[in-house]
Symmetry: C2
Subunit: 240 residues, 2 copies
């Protein structure tokens, strides 16, 4: 492991000793125009599979370029097997939840439709871009996939009972701390209006569902997502 360059980019390309990587038009603009890198400058690359590699700029043009992998600077590390299920809310806050989930080490991000979710579609590509940007910033080598929007009820129909589902519900307000299940696990955050009575009843009846209290105040959905991921990582994840 050697020094890690400050500029980190996610690329959808194999990485390895001596591997050359074509620079996309978008990255060429960022690297050579915005950041003004020249031939010989170093960047860090990761692709979610091969760890982080130091690469040198071998060619720099307005619309493209070539990076040459030099040495691995960090091993590939997967986060614990924790999913985040959340009901999309206003656009800015939905992007925020995805960013924070990637920073906090969620392994998979699953937008879900609940009875009180207004959204009937999401911009999956934009949300995935948020997750990539967060991974670039946080120094991780893993990018959590952002799934398509799916109905929570259908996900529950086919849920793998070996995966604990931790449900942060307003109904838990004020109760004492509880033990959190180990991985594989998922955290479920409801929409701004909360879960319906029928949803809550179904969730509580399922053998793999655990509840998680988040203090005496009502948290916004984005705050609840960050708080729940933090508590799980600290108790049962890779912060422990």
């Amino acid at each position: 492991m050697t020094d890690r360059p400050k500029i980190r980019l996610y690329v959808d390309h194999p990485l390895g000793q001596g591997q050359s990587v074509a620079v996309s038009r978008e990255h060429a603009n960022y690297l050579f125009n915005v950041m003004r890198l020249r031939v010989g400058a170093e960047v860090a690359l990761f692709n979610g599979v091969d760890g982080e590699w130091r690469a040198q700029v071998a060619a720099a043009g307005k619309r493209g370029g070539v990076l040459l992998c030099d040495a691995q600077t960090a091993p590939q590390v997967a986060p614990p097997d924790l999913w985040l299920l959340f009901a999309p809310i206003k656009k800015a806050r939905t992007g925020f939840i995805v960013e924070k989930a990637a920073e906090l080490g969620a392994a998979r991000i699953c937008p879900v439709q609940t009875e009180r979710t207004n959204a009937d579609r999401i911009r999956q590509d934009r949300l995935q871009a948020h997750a990539i940007e967060a991974a670039e910033q946080c120094g991780g080598t893993f990018v959590p996939p952002v799934d398509e929007l799916r109905p929570l009820a259908k996900m529950l129909d086919t849920w793998d009972v070996g995966r604990a589902l931790v449900f942060a519900d307003e109904g838990e307000v004020g109760q004492a701390s509880v033990a959190l299940p180990q991985a594989p696990a998922a955290v479920l955050i409801g929409p701004e209006g909360g879960f319906s009575a029928a949803e809550r009843e179904r969730l509580r009846s399922l053998p793999f569902v655990h509840t998680m209290p988040l203090g005496p105040r009502i948290l916004r959905a984005d705050t609840a997502a960050v708080a729940a991921l933090t508590l799980w990582q600290s108790a049962s994840g890779d912060w422990a």
Copy 2:
């Protein structure tokens, strides 16, 4: 304690049985224009001191009105004595940190200048408005004061040694969980560029300073603030 109305407003006015409260122009617009409340409708009021009161609209006009306090619907509850010290970052993320700190039950919010803080002023009034809005949303009866921007170094010069200062530093990345001190306490979040070597050395030399690890990934300052407040509330605060 009786039913709590859904609309909650913070007012800078004494509250109590039979107390009449003049409606500000801004609140009149919100209550009577946006929300279309009429005479007889109910709202919840709190002022940070007297708990939450149910009040009836006694007069409704375009530029003002009168609310009449009817019954206390929640007692005054102060959060644990936890301060958040943070270095202001980009405007949207600074507003976000204040909002989240109020939701998560910080008792006081202290923007601080560090060596790598770009900001030399903050919009204290706007940040205080964020804290009020968050308190209105989260159902709390307390609004944390947002202080003026002060140099961290000066705050440390006159720090009350009875208050533990928990310092979430990138230097702690990857270390195991630690015990968190009880209240009175403060959590300190650094700027995007981290603390300088001199700041870090001084902090670590102070008898009231504790360090807090926040996992193996580098967190943005706003994520670190939410995570640190969550962990403290869960371990030593009012979520325990």
